[in-house]
């Protein structure tokens, strides 16, 4: 990739305007290479939840952008992120998604590394030259210099310096807090497996769609119609049987309902939209014994007011730029991983709220099946549109993509957010503000 001509800051700036962007941002391999270097090579990226590698010696294989990395917990409990590439001849050391070992040993020539990446053993030392120095950092696994956990959500950065993780997350810490607070024990764990969905489109298309409310009625028309024509009575105790129906139906909102949900942008390219399950828009809470039991258990520990406050945080998709989307109500998190300029993987997982009714977790599993499985009756239409968009943008004769919806009606809040009605490209404009800063920085 380094052979590609590197776009200059002026080249980049010319492709982003206040209300539109150029199609090359989705199709040009040179821009993609620069994104990997300047965005995914520098900013904080979500890599794992601590429950996925809870014990000393646990190793989780994942990606930071294009880099294949191992997230490890050493015997002292410290967390490290090292490159899955032997420091000797470059073989991948680990091929399992999850493993457990006291050290990392390369299967090629037996070089061994501690879980923090430091080389510990090089077989046949006498055959190495006299100047061979085990202390030379080049003999150890390359590592992400900064790794931080925000209450169990582990992020890493390939940059030596920069904003702290909490500075990067800003107000988005609220949604991680809320997900944890929904657990009566104040603790969550990732469980139930993960889906990994690959689409043939640019990585930015995912976040641009996630808070785009208006697409729902068009893109998802077929699943909306299927649910609308199949009238259901959401009576207890069969509510769980209707989760799929609720989700398919919720995309039917028109302008009035979306305006009511609202949308917010935050510094750092982050954004979130209001919830769709709010009373008066679409609520089934009154009919739901599981929700009532969860509320009672939270209230027993934290009081009635606090329980209402926690469960009352009504937000749907919460986008942490550039690679995470959180839905606390669904106990769900998605990670966006670029694979190529026109290929992206979305990893979707759910969380168990410790101390919550068991059916609460079973719902999270079911909701994940419904909206994040490769066979989801909802997601497949998003994927289809991502791929159609990617294809459409390969056309040379038209260059610009419109991002002007709602640009005249954004309102700053007194704590630095931008608010808009529920139909606005505000989240995308915010993503590009941040994108431009990273992409034009030296």
């Amino acid at each position: 990739m380094t052979e590609l001509p590197r776009p200059t800051p002026d080249d980049i700036s010319a492709l982003v305007r206040a209300d539109r962007v150029h199609r090359r941002l989705y199709t040009d391999p040179a821009i993609f290479a620069l994104e990997m270097e300047r965005i995914f090579g520098r900013t904080w990226l979500f890599v794992a939840h601590e429950s996925q590698f809870a014990k000393p010696g646990d190793i989780l294989r994942t990606r930071m952008g294009l880099e294949d990395v191992l997230v490890t917990r050493d015997r002292d409990g410290a967390i490290h992120v090292v490159l899955n590439r032997c420091a000797h001849r470059g073989a991948a050391i680990c091929t399992q998604e999850r493993s457990h070992a006291p050290s990392l040993v390369c299967p090629y020539h037996g070089w061994a590394f501690a879980l923090d990446g430091a080389v510990t053993s090089v077989p046949h030392r006498p055959s190495m030259p006299a100047g061979f120095d085990m202390a030379d950092p080049a003999r150890s696994l390359a590592r992400a210099p900064r790794v931080e956990s925000y209450r169990g959500f582990v992020f890493a950065s390939f940059a030596e310096t920069g904003h702290s993780l909490t500075q990067h997350l800003g107000v988005m810490t609220e949604i991680f807090d809320n997900l944890i607070d929904r657990s009566p024990d104040g603790e969550i764990e990732q469980a139930g497996g993960m889906f990994r969905q690959v689409y043939r489109g640019n990585w930015k298309l995912h976040h641009e769609n996630a808070n785009d409310t208006l697409h729902a009625g068009y893109t998802h028309e077929s699943s909306v119609a299927a649910a609308r024509d199949d009238k259901r009575d959401y009576a207890t105790p069969a509510f769980d049987d209707h989760l799929t129906h609720v989700q398919m139906l919720s995309n039917q909102f028109g302008v009035r309902e979306w305006e009511k949900t609202g949308i917010w942008g935050a510094p750092g390219g982050h954004s979130y939209m209001g919830g769709i399950h709010e009373k008066g828009v679409m609520s089934t809470d009154d009919l739901d014994p599981v929700a009532a039991e969860l509320r009672a258990r939270i209230a027993a520990k934290q009081g009635e007011d606090r329980a209402d406050e926690i469960l009352g945080m009504n937000r749907y998709n919460n986008l942490v730029w550039p690679n995470v989307s959180v839905n606390a109500q669904h106990q769900q998190l998605r990670v966006v991983t670029p694979l190529a300029v026109d290929k992206t993987m979305v990893t979707a997982m759910c969380f168990r709220l410790k101390g919550a009714p068991e059916r609460q977790f079973q719902r999270a599993v079911r909701i994940l099946n419904n909206i994040s499985s490769p066979a989801s009756t909802i997601l497949v239409d998003d994927i289809e549109i991502f791929e159609r968009t990617q294809h459409g943008l390969t056309n040379d004769a038209a260059d610009w993509i419109d991002l002007s919806r709602g640009i005249d009606i954004e309102t700053p809040t007194n704590d630095g957010r931008l608010a808009a009605g529920g139909i606005s490209d505000l989240p995308i404009r915010g993503q590009y503000n941040e994108w431009l800063q990273y992409m034009t920085a030296a």
Partner: protein
């Protein structure tokens, strides 16, 4: 061990089901299920729990009928253009247990898919199927499905969108 006639009938039933899917006769396919039946595509090899672990699909007819209604809708974008499939069912084994004539039928399924256009392509699915069949003398097919489980060999791998019923 079931007699040859029973084994033949079970095998013919699987071929019938495969043909309904290949011909896009989703409503007829859905009607093969018992009211309390399940269609299950596990997301992990050897998975035993569909409630505490994710599944590619774990749906009963009350949900499957939403899936089918979507496929029948003119604006199901993943069906424009429509994918074509060819199911090949083989290695059929039949075990009977219950006195009521219920059968457990194992088989291998290989499913080729083609969909025209830039968002389509060629794709191959394969895996072991298990059908729990209940005799249904009133139906032409002879059985109804109490459980269809399909364990795809790549059920836990990264995947593109699955736009057809397998």
């Amino acid at each position: 061990m079931p007699d040859l006639e029973t084994r033949y009938a079970a095998e013919q039933f699987l071929f019938h089901e495969a043909r309904l899917l290949d011909e896009g006769r989703w409503d007829d396919w859905l009607a093969l299920f018992t009211d309390d039946g399940w269609y299950w595509l596990p997301a992990r090899a050897g998975q035993t729990d569909p409630l505490e672990e994710i599944s590619i699909i774990y749906e009963d007819p009350s949900v499957l009928r939403l899936r089918v209604a979507r496929l029948n809708h003119p604006h199901a974008w993943t069906l424009a253009p429509a994918p074509r499939t060819a199911h090949v069912i083989g290695n059929v084994t039949v075990a009977n247990g219950a006195a009521d004539g219920s059968l457990t039928v194992g088989s291998m399924a290989t499913i080729a898919e083609f969909r025209a256009g830039e968002t389509g392509g060629r794709r191959l699915y394969a895996g072991r199927q298990t059908h729990e069949l209940r005799p249904d003398p009133d139906s032409e097919a002879g059985f109804r499905i109490a459980l269809k489980r399909l364990d795809l060999i790549d059920c836990d791998a990264e995947s593109g969108a699955i736009n057809v019923i397998l």
